[in-house]
């Protein structure tokens, strides 16, 4: 199972088509993957498990989200002012 996932990560080129976001506006696609990565990290770290599965969300949000947005959200999370539920 983890072997297949590692294969998938190794062959990662760019964020694939996501049927949840089929239209021109991809804002939510970027934001959702950012949230999913940090939620995944938080949950797996709390259970003291490896956070390797979260890597997929990280690659996708890195591909889609503008660097400035990611930096702003990271700063907000640091200062506790991030509006999303993680």
């Amino acid at each position: 199972m983890s072997g297949k996932f590692e294969e998938k990560i190794k062959k990662y080129r760019t964020a694939p088509f996501d049927a949840r976001f089929p239209n021109t506006n991809q804002t939510r696609n970027c934001y959702q993957n950012y949230l999913d990565y940090h939620r995944c990290n938080k949950v797996l770290s709390a259970k003291k498990q490896k956070t390797t599965p979260c890597e997929w969300y990280r690659r996708v949000y890195k591909s889609l989200c503008p660097i400035a947005w990611v930096q702003k959200w990271d700063d907000q999370r640091q200062s506790g002012t991030f509006a999303g539920r993680i």
Binding site: R13, T24, K62, S63
Partner: protein, 230 residues
Amino acid sequence: MAHPSQLGFQDAASPVMEELLHFHDHALMIVFLISTLVLYIIVTMVVTKLTDKLILDSQEIEIIWTLLPAMILILIALPSLRILYLMDEINDPHLTIKAMGHQWYWSYEYTDYEDLGFDSYMIPTQDLTPGQFRLLEADHRMVIPVESPIRVLISADDVLHSWAVPCLGIKMDAVPGRLNQTAFITSRPGVFYGQCSEICGANHSFMPIVVEAVPLEHFENWSSMMLEDT
């Protein structure tokens, strides 16, 4: 790119633009034919000496000049819808690039693997070298691998801009806080120019877009070189 005294579209560099070009030729030919016919009829009506005050109606001609326009409209609508759906196809991109509009330059981000980002300012007229194009050249071009499906996500940092490249058949608004997606594939290597297409202040006319399509190895060398520089 655009040529002086140009009448038609720029040469297409993507399959979608080729389709749009051919459709435009088809629709415009129909328009010319109808206009010529109508002009001829008007001129004939004005100069003819034949008159008959007792012609009131005619079923046959009414049927013809209802059915014929309906068929012509279908002849235009079918290719139009075909291209519309073609442009909406789900594609599987090989590369994602973000184009961010600022006042008054574009910045490009290639973050699929490493974090590569750089700004692209217009080269001022006094700094052009011979052979370069006025108001179109930029210091850093958006380099892409040729014949690969590319996804471009367009946004803006401050006010509305618009990312447009006519030979690829692309125009997409850059809206602050929103990420607009467009995709294309270049059918040939080359350099393709565009200009900001949404009024954004004093230097709106001076923030061009330059896309350079190169073979994959050249793209890989370019991205390694850009990563070392930044």
